[in-house]
């Protein structure tokens, strides 16, 4: 049915006549026929807004619009916003206000905003929120989007420079520093113009489309896979099954490599990969998948971690005796005298908490593109990965090709949050299909496939016991956690350790016992999600601490202050905390939020709550045993001395790490921010860095960059000293000048020194590296997880309104005080905090993947799995409590993950303050609140004592 029709459209002012198939959506036409890839396809069902364009001036979802149906219309895409090379003021406002992070939603959001200001040039905040209510941003840049649209007119006629928007920072003398200033994101201009090419936007001649067939059942033995009918489909160039691919097992944890590229004998969850197809287009590939005949003997399956531990439960990995009882990972820790600690307590409280299986839901679907050079047998893979190095290594080991023959390139990534921290079947299959066909192969997950592949948060069952003295001093803590791991290990071993290791970082405790069990089930594998294993135990701890405070008649903040971690302290589980301003975050958040006046006094249905958190600034040890530096950087000075390139394999996935690394390079070198070019993240161009996970880039990548910059500077000082008649040690570099510290007028241009150095010694290149301190951790089993050069600390105070009749919770206001060491960039810093608050709100109140009776998620899309919108976003006040971390570059620590950790407990505690209902099972839904209120009424108990055990009303599948 390929009866093509001619349609006439005006696209970004240019008349076009195009032949389209009836089923071609406008987004496909724009991307595939016109190469306007600034319009993103991220859900395909009108739920996310990333594909928003203007049709005859009106905002519209181009994924829901058939191209034939808008014949004669005028279409404007994000590429059409800039006029005559001049960015639209809205675009400049987005860059300057920091209203973008990963950038994948940005084009759509800009088009919604443009449609608004076309009709309403001076919109109110409410009008802005309504206009953008359909544009999902998982990075949570909503507060900044509102500001940017509100002030768009300020940017008319103004050039887009790299000066901070904040007047106070702008007015600082440039002499001060580059570090610490809110310079606009390095990648901002590319992302607001649609010029940034993400993996799915790359076009190579002759590229095929690949797709994967997943198992229709949750557990079974694969008897037969017959692809002959699929292979016969015209336009299908290759079909691979388990028999056609390397049998190598792969996985994140070296000791538990339990995944296969394509199943050979057994499938373990709905979606487990069985076959892969490469075809000339997506439609043909999909048709071929449907023609692959698969025979599977279905086996009993288990979908609940506790059920999976019961004797006689179906075994997910029966071939391995080590996984008896479906136990994937076992942790048994005991520090101090736990029994004595509880015996010494005046009060011991114990409570069960249950977490939710949330999904990262980055707006960009995972994508990979692979191409072989046949003459050389070399492979290039472009991937939306957070960890190019681990992907590089996995490809090498799995395909049996030396790393030197593989090139991994990471284009801009549209958000990851942990979902893209490991190699996926997409990269393996793209590489294998490309080899089989001799053509480039591009693969993307659909939104549903993203949910199926998962690697989201482990659902945790937490039994927590805390003993305290009458004054609130903690005497002992006992935590038992069962983690639902799904069918494979992924990051889960590490998750199981993190779930235990971070509790003693925040509060002092003389004795601590932790028992962790990660359990296999026939669900998609859970992995590493922002905060990695820590948010749910922290939610439990912060909730129980409030319950204890109430029992003792103490203020929750006072209890926290009494036990708060202090600087230069070794925790009971042998983690070394150096800088720590936790107490200051508590005290200042208390004051700024008006806590003392508000708590318990906000009236029925309104409440305030506190939650805190502490987190690692980069894992102290790598994922696989190795002795090389974790971060390495190369800085090359351009030969005329007026520019610098920074090469590092660290991955900006939206968090802004490129920007802060460029700032640190500029700072150490003594040159302006806009002298520094960030080289593409490419294993051919940049030395190894372990990538973006465990909140490591600012600290570890920053150190490597600083080290490289020092070495460059040393070479310049050498020649400059000769020129200026002083010793290299006397010199200083700042503002593109090199001068004698004691006699600042004895100086020369930085560029002149660079030219001299080049003339004398050849190219000026500096190599830097960073290895964490060697002696981190206690030496017991698993003691490496949780070690870090430094720890961040924060306090969140949330205010909520609960509709006491429907149970709906609205988060009104959030105050965040965070100690992340020295802030390198206030805009990206606050952006991370705001994004964590928005995401944490979703995890606390909205999000959970729900498995149906057959183990298939019933809500694998963005209209059933609801993430927060701009209209759900509270008023946020984020303040940095600066410390100087001696182990961090320029004194810096992390902010990206730690800022999520306190949010869940703060909201849960605020809900309790508002309505007296203590919900111990996430998410805190309206339904659970109403159940708690009803229980309270039935018992006639005062509001303070109501507690809700999870109510188990069955959720039937959506019709």
């Amino acid at each position: 049915m390929s009866d093509e029709r001619l349609v006439r459209l005006t696209v970004n002012g240019e008349p076009r006549t195009l032949a389209v198939k009836p089923a071609t959506t406008l987004v496909s036409l724009l991307r595939d026929q016109l190469d306007l890839t600034g319009t993103k396809r991220a859900c395909g069902t009108g739920d996310c807004g990333a594909c928003t364009v203007q049709i005859d001036g009106q905002a519209a979802a181009s994924c829901l619009t058939l191209a034939v149906d808008v014949d004669g219309s005028e279409i404007t895409t994000v590429e059409g916003l800039a006029q005559g090379g001049e960015l639209h003021p809205l675009q400049k406002a987005f860059v300057k206000h920091g209203a973008l992070q990963c950038g994948y939603c940005t084009g759509g959001a800009l088009m919604s905003a443009k449609a608004l200001i076309d009709g309403t040039p001076d919109p109110s905040r409410d009008e802005i929120a309504e206009a953008l209510s359909g544009n999902l941003c998982r990075c949570g840049t909503y507060p900044r989007m509102v500001q940017a649209v509100e002030h768009w007119r300020d940017f008319a006629g103004a050039p887009l420079d790299t000066e901070p928007h904040d007047a106070a920072e702008r007015d600082q003398s440039r002499d001060h520093r580059t570090v610490g200033r809110g310079v606009p994101r390095y990648d901002g201009p590319d992302k607001v113009t649609g010029r940034a090419r993400y993996t799915a936007d790359l076009r190579l001649p002759g590229t095929l489309v690949g797709r994967i067939l997943g198992s229709p059942v949750a557990h079974g033995v694969v008897r037969r896979v017959d692809a002959s009918r699929a292979r016969a489909v015209p336009g299908v160039l290759a079909v691979l099954t388990g028999a056609d691919v390397p049998a190598t097992r792969y996985g994140v944890s070296p000791a538990r490599e339990d995944e296969q590229i394509l199943a050979t004998d057994r499938v373990r969850y709905v979606g487990d990969e069985i076959a892969a197809v490469a075809a000339v287009d997506d439609e043909t590939a999909r048709r071929a998948l449907a023609l692959i005949d698969v025979e599977i003997d279905e086996l009993p399956a288990v979908f609940d971690a506790e059920a999976a531990m019961a004797p006689g439960a179906p075994l997910v990995h029966p071939e391995h005796p080590r996984y008896a009882g479906n136990v994937n990972t076992r942790v048994d820790w005991s520090f101090g005298d736990v029994d004595a600690g509880f015996a010494a307590a005046d009060l011991v409280r114990e409570q069960r908490f249950v977490g939710n299986r949330t999904y990262q839901s980055p707006i960009e679907p995972h994508a990979a593109l692979a191409q072989w050079e046949p003459h050389a047998g070399r492979l290039t893979v472009w991937s939306s990965t957070q960890t190019p190095h681990y992907l590089h290594r996995s490809l090498s080991r799995t395909l049996g090709v030396p790393m030197g023959q593989i090139r991994v390139i990471r284009p801009p990534v549209g958000g990851g949050f942990g979902a893209k921290a490991e190699a996926t079947p997409l990269e393996f299959c793209a590489a294998l299909l490309a080899r089989a066909t001799g053509r480039p192969v591009r693969m993307e997950y659909s939104r549903e496939e993203m949910f199926r592949h998962f690697r989201g948060r482990h659902k945790q069952y937490i039994d927590l016991k805390i003993g305290v003295k009458r004054d609130g001093t903690i005497t002992a803590v006992d935590q038992r956690v069962v983690l639902d791991g799904g069918a494979y290990t992924s990051f889960g071993v590490i998750t199981a350790y993190y779930a235990g290791s971070m509790l003693p970082v925040l509060y002092k405790m003389p004795a601590y016992r932790y028992e962790g069990r990660r359990i296999y089930t026939n669900l998609p594998a859970s992995g590493a999600f922002r905060g990695h294993g820590v948010p749910q135990p922290r939610f439990a701890f912060e909730s129980l601490l409030d319950m204890i405070a109430e029992d003792l008649g103490l203020d929750p903040i006072d209890v926290r202050l009494r036990n708060a971690m202090t600087p230069d302290t070794r925790t009971v589980n042998a983690l070394d905390v150096s800088s720590c301003e936790f107490t200051a975050t508590l005290a200042r958040a208390r004051e700024a939020s008006g806590w003392d006046a508000k708590r318990g006094r906000l009236g029925a249905g309104r409440g305030i709550g506190v939650g805190c958190g502490g987190f690692v600034s980069g894992a102290g040890y790598p994922i696989y045993r190795s002795s090389f530096p974790h971060s390495n950087a190369l800085i090359r000075v351009h030969e005329d001395g007026t520019g610098v390139s920074l090469h590092i394999l660290a991955s900006d996935i939206g968090q802004g790490s490129d920007t802060v690394l460029v700032q640190m390079a500029a700072e150490e070198l003594g040159v302006p921010y806009d002298w520094v070019w960030m080289a593409e993240c490419d294993t051919v161009l940049a030395p190894l860095d372990l990538g973006s996970y465990s909140s490591r880039v600012t600290l570890m990548g920053g150190h490597a960059v600083q080290d490289a910059a020092r070495r460059v500077k040393g070479q310049l000082f050498e020649v400059a000293a000769g020129e200026l008649g002083c010793a290299p040690a006397d010199l200083e570099a700042r503002n593109a000048r090199i001068y004698d510290r004691a006699r600042p007028d004895v100086a020369m241009d930085w560029a002149a020194a660079a030219r001299l150095a080049f003339g004398k010694n050849g190219p000026v290149v500096g190599l830097g590296s960073y290895t964490p301190p060697a002696d981190l951790g206690g030496g017991f089993k698993g003691s490496t997880v949780g070690t870090s050069p430094a720890y961040s600390f924060s306090t969140v105070i949330a205010e909520v309104t609960v509709d006491l009749e429907t149970g709906f919770v609205q988060v009104d206001r959030v105050t965040d005080f965070s100690d992340a060491g020295t802030v390198i960039n206030p805009v990206t810093f606050h952006g991370q905090v705001e994004g964590s608050i928005v995401m944490g709100l979703g995890e606390t109140l909205l999000e959970d993947t729900v498995a149906g009776p057959g183990g298939q998620f019933v809500n694998p899309n963005l209209h059933d799995y609801l993430i927060p919108t701009i209209r759900d976003t509270p008023e946020i006040r984020s303040v940095a409590v600066e410390s100087y971390e001696p182990r961090g570059p320029f004194g810096a620590k992390e902010i990206g993950e730690g800022s999520l950790v306190p949010v869940l407990g703060a909201i849960a505690n605020a809900v309790y303050d508002a309505c007296g209902v203590r919900v111990t099972e996430l998410p805190i839904t309206p339904e659970k609140i109403l159940a708690g209120l009803a229980r309270r009424r039935d018992r006639g108990v005062p509001p303070a004592a109501a507690s809700v055990e999870p109510e188990s009303e069955t959720h039937a599948q959506t019709v």
């Binding site: 049915m1 009866d3 029709r5 009836p22 089923a23 959506t25 395909g44 069902t45 009108g46 739920d47 807004g49 928003t52 049709i55 009106q58 905002a59 519209a60 979802a61 994924c63 829901l64 619009t65 058939l66 034939v68 149906d69 808008v70 919604s112 449609a115 608004l116 929120a129 309504e130 206009a131 209510s133 359909g134 439609e283 009749e805 429907t806 149970g807 709906f808 909205l846 729900v850 019933v858 809500n859 209209h863 059933d864 609801l866 927060p868 919108t869 701009i870 209209r871 759900d872 839904t925 309206p926 339904e927 109403l930 009303e953 069955t954 959720h955 039937a956 599948q957 959506t958 019709v959």
Partner: protein, 291 residues
């Protein structure tokens, strides 16, 4: 997603084409439900009859005792129409609650009715207003009451070749107040978990006429005549409204799904009905006649 695409220029041609192609054809208006239904495999029509080329199906105009809303009128048009705001505020509120601007700019009144999903936002308001739907057929036009339009989940009275052309609203009498209330799990762009439209006609302090319609809590949008009966002849009061709300909650037929259990939906219906009645009463008594 594969289909043949037809683009008739008149209503008569569209009807004739629909009749000829039979049950394997579907009309395409804004596409905001139909296109994702294709993606999810829920829609399989092999022929799409696009309505975009037919003039005259989009627009809102009042003609004496009737407000005519063409079936290709977008939800955004309804949301910002001063006429709708005067004739049936509940409908304007429902239109404003639907989706996001990018959806409302494409989604049509006709699509919202004809896709016949139980959580559609516009039908409850039309039901309480006693609206009629004008249907073009190969043999001419016929009108049906909005309340009789839906026959089951995703099913309407429309047969092959029958095209909804207009939503017809009767003029509101003096003393009428209407209100739309909706509960969803987040504030921005979310489907209704339960919705309610209420109408009260108050004469000299007495409820002379009333209607309550529920959305998302039964296979189709539904009127609750027992509640209307209970209200009629009474004086607006919290107690009366609470009783009507109880009747509605009992009459609802919700399912449990990932958005909430049946029990929670019932509890919410009760709250929404009471709130809708309170607001409708306020409008009927203090905000004066509306047309």
């Amino acid at each position: 997603m594969e289909f043949r695409y037809h683009r008739p220029a008149t209503v008569a041609d569209a009807c004739a084409l629909g009749q000829r192609l039979g049950a394997g054809a579907a009309f395409l208006a804004g596409g905001t439900e139909l296109v994702p239904d294709y993606q999810r495999g829920r829609e399989t029509a092999g022929d799409l009859i696009a309505l975009a080329g037919i003039p005259g199906l989009r627009g809102i105009e009042s003609g004496g005792d009737t407000l005519r809303i063409g079936s290709l009128t977008t939800v955004a048009d309804v949301a910002r129409s001063p006429l709708v705001a005067r004739w049936l505020p509940a409908l304007a509120e429902a239109a404003r609650a639907l989706g996001s601007p990018a959806i409302r700019n494409r989604a049509t009144v006709g699509g919202n009715f004809c896709r016949a999903v139980s959580c559609a936002d516009l039908p409850p308001a039309a039901l309480v207003a006693g609206a009629r739907l004008r249907i073009a057929t190969p043999g001419g036009a016929r009108d049906v009451a909005a309340a009789e339009f839906f026959v089951g989940a995703r099913r309407t009275v429309l047969g092959p070749g029958e095209l909804l052309t207009d939503l017809l609203l009767p003029a509101p009498p003096a003393g009428r107040g209407t209100r739309f209330e909706r509960f969803s799990l987040r504030r921005g762009m979310a489907l209704a978990v339960a919705s309610v439209a209420a109408r009260l006609d108050v004469e000299r302090g007495v409820i002379a006429g009333a209607a309550i319609a529920l959305g998302a809590v039964a296979p189709t949008p539904m009127l609750v005549p027992e509640a209307a009966e209970l209200l009629r002849g009474g004086r607006p009061s919290a107690a009366l409204f609470e009783r009507a709300a109880e009747v509605c909650a009992a009459a609802s037929l919700p399912i449990g799904d990932v958005r909430g259990s049946a029990g929670h939906r019932r509890r919410v219906v009760r709250v929404l009905v009471r709130r809708a009645l309170e607001r409708a009463a306020a409008r009927a008594t203090t905000e004066g006649p509306v047309s």
